[in-house]
């Protein structure tokens, strides 16, 4: 799938906004939101938050995890752990990109946050590449990927599954070529014994 499609899925997550207008409840197909009260925080899907922000009708409240200290802790945990740690948010990269892109002025220390999130992403991606390498070298055709987010999984999709497909094909070809040679030898033996 395209990274934009993952972003599209991530846009359905709820974020908190503070609208600067007052309006009744709105009944969308994906649920009802509101009532909008100027100055009071409320939850809306991310796509709606970005849209309202672009129309300058709200401020986006930074999600709890989008905080320097919290992110530093995650970064340290990610560095020390051999495995992937659980991210505070299944679509952290999408949320960070969209919120920091559309509403950087609503987030305190947006620049630093961007850098830390990028660091976390880089650590996780290099870990992912190492584990892919190990998986391929061990000739495995099964792997467990807990705590990886959709965007991270998607980034290895052009490579990992097809490499594993090819490996499997080679393994089954190897098996097939060994077996017939055994068969033919047993055939010729039985054939010759019949002739005699």
């Amino acid at each position: 799938m395209d990274p934009y499609e993952i972003e599209f899925i991530g846009e359905n997550r709820l974020v908190s906004v503070i609208p600067n207008f007052t309006y009744d409840k709105i009944y969308l197909i994906c649920g009802e939101f509101g009532p909008f009260r100027a100055g009071l925080p409320m939850n809306v899907p991310l796509w709606l938050a970005v849209m309202l922000k672009q129309k300058q009708k709200c401020r986006i409240v930074p999600p709890d995890w989008m905080d320097i200290d919290a992110l530093e802790t995650i970064k340290e945990a990610e560095k020390t752990s051999r495995f992937f740690t659980k991210m505070p948010n299944e679509h952290y990269m999408v949320e960070a990109k969209l919120i920091l892109g559309a509403a950087a002025e609503d987030i305190p220390r947006a620049g630093e946050i961007k850098t830390i999130i990028k660091d976390i992403w880089d650590i996780r991606m290099s870990k992912l590449r190492t584990s892919m390498d190990t998986l391929m070298k061990s000739g495995g055709s099964y792997g467990r990927l807990d705590h990886l987010t959709m965007m991270e999984i998607n980034s290895v999709k052009p490579l990992l599954p097809s490499a594993m497909d090819d490996l499997l094909r080679i393994q089954s070809m190897a098996k097939k070529t060994i077996q017939p040679s055994l068969n033919t030898s047993s055939f010729s033996q039985s054939g010759s014994s019949q002739n005699i």
Partner: protein
């Protein structure tokens, strides 16, 4: 107010909420995009959502153009339409690619009443095959010596590769999924609820169809 009331009442008529239908469509779209073979259709959901969209569009037209609600609703509808179009297109793509095996398998499934294609998709598949055959005949086969003129359906068939690897997340715990690997003894694994894996599509194909796992 009138606008909101109408939408609410239309939601009440359905046994499941529009929200739940949308969720199902999202999952079906994701599965369809990521699985190597065609999956059972969810036409009822698509039809239901299209009905909702039409209803919503009629109501939006009653609102003044500059109304904020109108633009929010329009945005949501565009998003849903995108999902539906993309879902149906992904299915048509597979139907065109694996046309011959799909028609053959579908014939048996129709007899047992477990069809994967909607009637119109089935018709599309059959017409596509006929057109393809006609095209090959008029372009090549009619012009070659008589003993080579037969259209060999089986040699033309492209089968979906069920031995490909997919990523999945377990919606519920499934124990004892058997991975039949070549050259090794069968390995059994357990999929715990919420866990994520990469493995062969074939052993989990039924779990995808029954919704016990979600492709990611």
């Amino acid at each position: 107010m009138d606008f909101n009331d109408q939408i609410e009442s239309s939601g009440d008529e359905e046994e499941i909420t529009a929200e739940a239908v949308l969720k199902t469509l999202y999952n079906a779209w994701q599965n369809e995009r990521l699985s190597p073979e065609i999956l059972p259709h969810c036409n009822e959901m698509v039809e239901c959502m299209l009905g909702q969209i039409q209803h919503m569009e009629r109501n939006i037209n009653k609102l003044p153009k500059t109304d904020l609600r109108a633009s929010i609703h329009k945005m949501e509808l565009s998003r849903i339409k995108y999902i539906i179009c993309n879902y149906l297109r992904a299915r048509l793509c597979k139907i065109e690619k694996h046309c011959i095996p799909i028609i053959n398998e579908e014939r048996q499934r129709i007899e047992s009443g477990t069809n994967y294609l909607t009637p119109s998709e089935y018709k599309y598949a059959q017409e596509y095959l006929l057109n393809m055959e006609g095209h090959f005949k008029s372009v090549v086969l009619d012009k070659v010596p008589g003993n080579m003129q037969t259209f060999e359906m089986n040699k033309m068939a492209i089968y979906p590769n069920l031995q490909s690897h997919v990523f999945l997340k377990a919606n519920e715990t499934v124990n004892g999924v058997v991975l039949d690997l070549p050259g090794e003894q069968d390995e059994e694994i357990d999929l715990e609820e919420g866990s994520q894996h990469i493995l062969l599509y074939k052993p989990v194909a039924d779990l995808v169809k029954s919704g016990k796992v979600q492709l990611i």
